[in-house]
């Protein structure tokens, strides 16, 4: 299969099909509606099932049901709808059920608007629902990267029995780029002996539940979950660096914003400012390593986000006071321009407040 020109939302859907996902439960919301419509068309072709739920709440709970049978399953939404899924996501974590959930983030809070944003960073990386938990979050910056990360997302979900979030923004969902899909993959060979599919031929009844009425039992369960999160932190960190070998200043950005910063970096370098980029691909676990390696060498970091400053908190934790951390962000669905990022780089490098 050669390269095809597709819209981001459709790439997410097709990549999921290629990753062996045959079940999708969704609810329409802009700017991810093409994803739902694509699945409605596509899944019957591969012997799968698309079902439009009556709400995002119902959709995530249908995902819980399908996941409990051991199949690869997905749902998607955008910010307000993603908020509604939080209860179900907490149950997925508590019941240790694998699933992939996509959030094509739009401007908030409240109904906000339908323009691109990254202001759900806290919500996706810090738990989001009730209870002590983290979920692996992958943030693609291009349509080709979506193809890779969707496959990874389903593999991580199965490997650790956890929901995995794909976080994009409205721009990623709406843009068109040529992409190439690999072979169709069957789910990697874990036997899901925990799945509730009826007991015929497999012994005693199984139970999928997140309830532990006894405090010490629930604490033990939490400790087991924390061990799993620690393992994910060790194994599933993903990031990319750009021009950091000689960098005196490092920008930090993810998703589509990272692409815009790369042009600004090239322009700043032409003007003699040695600047590079760290692009977190896994937002949780956050990539501390490239910061630890650079924080005693560089003059400062500049976090660039489509929010009022959320990822910057993780940047500060990773930098741990070793260098100044500046911020530039646009909110409300405004996409920062290459020119304004360039100007912020120049002021930051010139010692001016940003």
């Amino acid at each position: 299969m050669g390269k095809v020109l597709m819209k981001g939302n459709e790439v997410i859907a097709e990549a999921a099909v290629h990753a062996g996902c045959k079940y999708f439960f969704g609810y329409p919301i802009t700017p991810q509606s093409e994803l739902v419509a694509y699945m409605a068309r596509r899944l019957p072709e591969v012997g799968g099932l698309f079902l439009q739920a009556e709400s995002e709440i119902a959709a995530i709970n249908m995902v819980c049901g399908a996941a409990s049978t051991g199949v690869r399953v997905m749902t998607s939404s955008s910010s307000p709808g993603f908020s509604l899924k939080q209860e179900g996501i907490s149950y997925l974590v508590g019941s240790e059920l694998p699933a992939v959930i996509c959030n094509i983030v739009r401007g908030g809070p409240g109904l906000g608007n339908i323009q691109p944003a990254q202001s759900d960073y806290f919500q996706v990386t810090k738990g989001g629902g009730h209870g002590d938990y983290n979920i692996p979050v992958l943030a693609p910056a291009s349509l080709q990267e979506i193809v890779e990360l969707i496959q990874d997302a389903f593999d991580i979900a199965d490997r650790y029995r956890t929901p995995v979030i794909i976080m994009g923004d409205g721009m990623l969902g709406q843009m068109m780029e040529p992409v190439e899909f690999g072979e169709y993959s069957e789910p990697i060979g874990q036997t899901k002996d925990w799945a509730t599919t009826g007991t015929r031929g497999d012994g005693a009844p199984k139970i999928i539940s997140s309830l532990e009425l006894d405090a010490e039992s629930l604490e033990k369960r939490n400790e087991q979950l924390q061990e799993k999160f620690a393992l994910i932190k060790e194994q599933e960190v993903r990031y990319e660096t750009y021009e950091i070998a000689d960098a005196e200043y490092i920008l930090v950005a993810f998703g589509t914003v990272a692409r815009i910063t790369m042009n600004a970096i090239q322009k700043a370098r032409k003007h003699g400012v040695k600047v590079g980029l760290i692009r977190p691909i896994s937002l949780w676990p956050f990539p501390d390593k490239p910061f630890i390696e650079t924080r005693n060498k560089v003059n400062g970091y500049l976090a660039v986000e489509m929010s009022a400053g959320q990822m910057i908190e993780d940047v500060r934790l990773a930098v741990n006071g070793c260098a100044p951390v500046g911020f530039f962000g646009r909110t409300g669905g405004v996409v920062p321009s290459q020119e304004e990022i360039y100007e912020k780089i120049m002021s930051f490098a010139g010692g001016l407040p940003v």
Partner: protein, 250 residues
């Protein structure tokens, strides 16, 4: 003289002792469901979905694969299971707070889609687990922790009659309301549960049995007074009978 077994515990339930209060009919309803699953020989092909409320631990009592759902969402979870495994039997077991209040949307849409699942809906006109608060099915005038002066239609509105409402949906194939206040009614309740699972077996669509039940603890009555209360106060408001039957037969 040969000994004949006239009664034994159903293999549809586990050995675990239930946590239900004395006089609560959840135990009876569990047994009826367990017996039907055993008699239809479908225990190994069944996945039950437990809800939130007094019956939250039902996953420990039904002797089949079980999944525990968030409050009110059992019909959505059951939908996910059934759509992946259409040849298995899938049922939910929900109380009136779970189904008729927070989960009314999920159960209505499951019925509207004609989901081929069975819902066992236990209506005792009160929230039991949380300590006796008003449910959507609480009777007018009934005192609860949150209607200390009695349910007032001008303040809290009127009870929701779930069977009557669900029967209006084309996707609902079998809807019946039964009671557990005496032995003849318990026997009728079992027949209704059996018909609901047979509806699912025949692939006819959504089936639901509403079972009128007791809550001696939160009603402040003893067990026998509670059974009488169901008969005298609940049945006139929640008439028993078949509200929808696409399957035919009696």
């Amino acid at each position: 003289m040969t000994m004949k077994t006239v009664f034994k515990k159903t293999s549809g339930l586990t050995e675990k002792p239930t946590h239900y209060c004395p006089g609560c009919t959840h135990g009876v309803i569990h047994r009826l469901v367990g017996e039907v699953l055993e008699e239809m020989d479908i225990l190994e092909d069944t996945i039950g979905v437990a809800s939130v409320g007094c019956s939250v631990l039902s996953y420990e009592y039904f002797n089949c694969d079980m999944t525990q759902a968030a409050h009110g969402r059992a019909p959505a979870v059951a939908t996910g299971v059934k759509r992946v495994l259409p040849d298995r039997f899938v049922f939910t077991y929900q109380g009136d707070g779970d189904l008729a209040s927070i989960g009314i949307s999920e159960v209505i849409h499951a019925a509207a889609r004609g989901e081929n699942i069975t819902v066992i809906f236990v209506n005792n006109a009160i929230y039991g687990m949380t300590g006796g608060q008003m449910a959507p099915t609480t009777l007018v005038g009934q005192k609860t922790a949150t209607t200390p002066f009695g349910r007032d239609i001008h303040i809290q509105g009127s009870p929701i009659k779930v069977c009557e409402m669900m029967a209006t949906l084309d996707g609902a194939a079998y809807i019946e309301r039964v009671s557990t206040h005496d032995v003849p009614h318990i026997q009728k309740a079992k027949k209704a549960i059996r018909r609901a699972f047979e509806t699912q077996k025949e692939g006819k669509g959504f089936s639901m049995v509403e079972v009128l039940s007791t809550c001696p603890t939160n009603w402040g009555l003893d067990p026998s007074e509670s059974l009488e209360w169901v008969k005298e106060n609940m049945i006139p408001i929640y008439p028993l009978g078949v509200y929808k039957n696409k399957v035919g037969g009696k």
